[in-house]
Symmetry: C2
Subunit: 422 residues, 2 copies
């Protein structure tokens, strides 16, 4: 039918906020969501009456399993003063928040609403770590994959070994991705692990010295990351510092119809393109070293925006594991298949590289409250495009930022392209 998808009207982003990501004992999804909501309200340039909001979309993976609370959307509507507005939860595992943004855009484009709030939230740290792993495993195929013993580090380890085998990357490539993202995250006050790997390394040395223990003699970050004690193998080749953390957090954005954008914002950010795709579970795929749904979602978004990968100034991609960032930058066409690892090693994805990736620190350093991450990515794009990213701001002029949010092993991928207009 629709050869070329086109929204009935344009949609713009006019506000964005997030809670700090981290482990917050005693705070529930509600508390975190309210923090993010309030920051979003404060981010709107023009005087703005929250009564103008008409609907709430909530990305959340599983408050059911993490907090024993289902039916989260109307609760969050209550806690943000938004009820009796329509409130709905959108779920696509770790792509839940990206999928919620996607639905929020469709809702505004439909004509039904002019002003909607889209948020994402997850409260993961109330469960012990092994329970978190089991809960996340429900995002895979629990009939065919989980009984075979897979959990997510294993899935992504399989993808990593496939990629390394095919193209020649090494575990050190992955470590370099982690080092880069921690460098970025060290400039993000909202990051859960907002410290450089070198800083963490020095802290370990200082701690050993203080305790009168032998001081480890790591000559650099890579040697530290190769240390089986400091950085144990989780599922080879993935080590602890290749994995995003277990996190609590929330992020919220405000979307309006394009014609209203300037009434809310001095510098609105426009939705230029969007794409979403699904796929079978990993066991059922022909290839492990690329995520087909990401390629397709990217293609759709580029087509809608009328741009190509070369036009994207920077991107926030779904680095739930370091390998995932390499796959993402190939799937999105930033680099040819099999070459992203060289680009990463050459610094092309660093803050001052040709294609900066995960300026926020990514899921790796910023944290990964799974149902919030997709909106958290949008918050970073909002800040960068508006020149409000502080110390981590890209210095050159920016026009297009992209977000890439993956659910599971890629059963879902959602890509959005955001545009700053002159």
């Amino acid at each position: 039918m629709a050869e070329q998808h086109k929204l009935a009207r344009g949609v713009a982003l006019v506000g964005a906020g997030m809670s700090k990501f981290g482990a917050f004992k005693g705070k529930s999804s509600r508390d975190l969501f309210v923090e993010a909501f309030n920051e979003m309200l404060a981010s709107v340039d023009q005087p703005f009456d929250p009564n103008q909001i008409e609907a709430l979309f909530v990305g959340n993976y599983s408050s059911d399993l993490f907090e024993g609370q289902g039916h989260l959307a109307p609760i969050l509507a209550s806690w943000t003063g938004l009820n009796p507005l329509p409130a709905v939860r959108v779920e696509d595992a770790c792509a839940s928040a990206g999928a919620a943004v996607y639905q929020g855009i469709l809702a505004v484009a439909s004509g039904m609403y002019d002003v909607v709030v889209v948020g994402g939230v997850e409260k993961m740290t109330d469960l012990p770590t092994e329970k978190v792993t089991d809960t996340l495993a429900t995002a895979a195929d629990t009939q065919f994959e989980i009984p075979a013993g897979f959990t997510f580090p294993g899935f992504y380890a399989a993808m990593a070994t496939s990629y390394m085998h095919a193209y020649g990357a090494t575990p050190e490539t992955l470590m370099k991705v982690g080092i880069k993202n921690h460098n970025n995250g060290s400039l993000n006050e909202k990051a859960q692990f907002g410290a450089k790997i070198s800083t963490l390394m020095e802290a370990r040395k200082a701690s050993a010295a203080k305790k009168g223990l032998p001081i480890p003699e790591w000559k650099d970050e890579l040697e530290f990351l190769h240390d089986d004690k400091a950085n144990p193998v989780i599922a080879w080749p993935l080590r602890l510092y290749d994995c995003s953390p277990v996190s609590d957090g929330a992020a919220v954005v405000l979307l309006v119809s394009e014609d209203l954008a300037k009434k809310f914002s001095d510098c609105p950010i426009y939705i230029a393109g969007m794409g979403q795709a699904s796929d079978g579970a990993l066991h059922d795929r022909k290839e492990l070293n690329s995520i087909p749904s990401a390629r397709l979602a990217g293609q759709k978004a580029y087509q809608m925006a009328g741009v190509g990968p070369e036009d994207i100034d920077f991107a926030e991609v779904h680095d739930c594991f370091t390998i995932a960032e390499l796959l993402a930058t190939e799937d999105l066409g930033f680099f040819e298949r099999g070459t992203a690892w060289k680009a990463a090693e050459n610094g092309e994805t660093s803050r001052d590289g040709s294609k900066p990736i995960n300026l926020s620190g990514g899921l790796k350093s910023k944290g990964h409250p799974v149902g919030a991450s997709g909106v958290g990515q949008v918050v970073e794009v909002w800040k960068q495009l508006r020149g409000q990213a502080g110390e981590r701001q890209i210095k050159r002029p920016l026009k297009y930022g992209l977000t890439h949010n993956v659910g599971g092993t890629g059963q879902t991928c959602v890509v959005h392209i955001f545009e700053k207009r002159d």
Copy 2:
């Protein structure tokens, strides 16, 4: 902002199907969804290529807790051959499926898609009953309500006592609602408990006779329903036969843009109006004998459709408990506040009454696979408006059918109005 909500383009229903509702050992959500999907495909009047479908929306309350399977949408996309299309789960507790229909309509109206599938599914019977009750309780406020000992029969019992106290209804009124819905369900081959109460009563008598036990001397259905052994109190005044069952099932519909409707269907059914609203949890409300979100969702739907309650020929309402049907028919304006119980006693809501309610048997008799029920209601409206409801078909000409789907105790309500055009 938008004083009067208006979709950018119209949307029509051109196919609908459902699995049988019941308890199906060994069948998962996937199996049930595929059954419903296949029936939907077969229901489309004109030759139809499933490759025309562009997206999948899945209503589901908690496959996470019921089956240990999250990220259900792309799995169902795989099993129905729909991947790599965008697939997303929509959750609003027992209103999940209604909310999914709502999102599917917005998606088509947005211009992004011309043809979408919306389904709902729940597989509840793998858990023991007490676990099901606990799982459903997560749809309430688990910070403020569940620790106080409430589960859903208790919530609705509180609503029932409030209603009876205010207006004079009695437990017998509720029993009459159940008798009516079982009468309707006895004509629905998809119903989980598709037998009249009188039939169940006679079966009990026959069973006692066969076992040589004293044959109970119930003179009529009401006496049977008053029998504490045959129909035990669950939470006074609600007895077993006032409660909808624990169910497995799925339902699926096909939505297209209005301009394409006749290409798919000889008798498309058009979306005339829709409304959704949210509310705080029950403990935080000023009134217990009405559901504010239902009143508001109904008003929105009527306003959009340009019709009033008097124009609605019949409705499928959310009778998770018998009391809920009485509240619904007042909240929707079919009867004045405090009078629905008299209307029910007078037979006005029966199949040959002035305002037939729950011709399918309702959740009470048809079954209540929670995340499927909202789409199941739409399937009945589709059949009735097209004159395909078999023995339970309303004989007079029909123009408007309404669905009313409630999440939790009314933290969410979704109302849709469907129209048959000449």
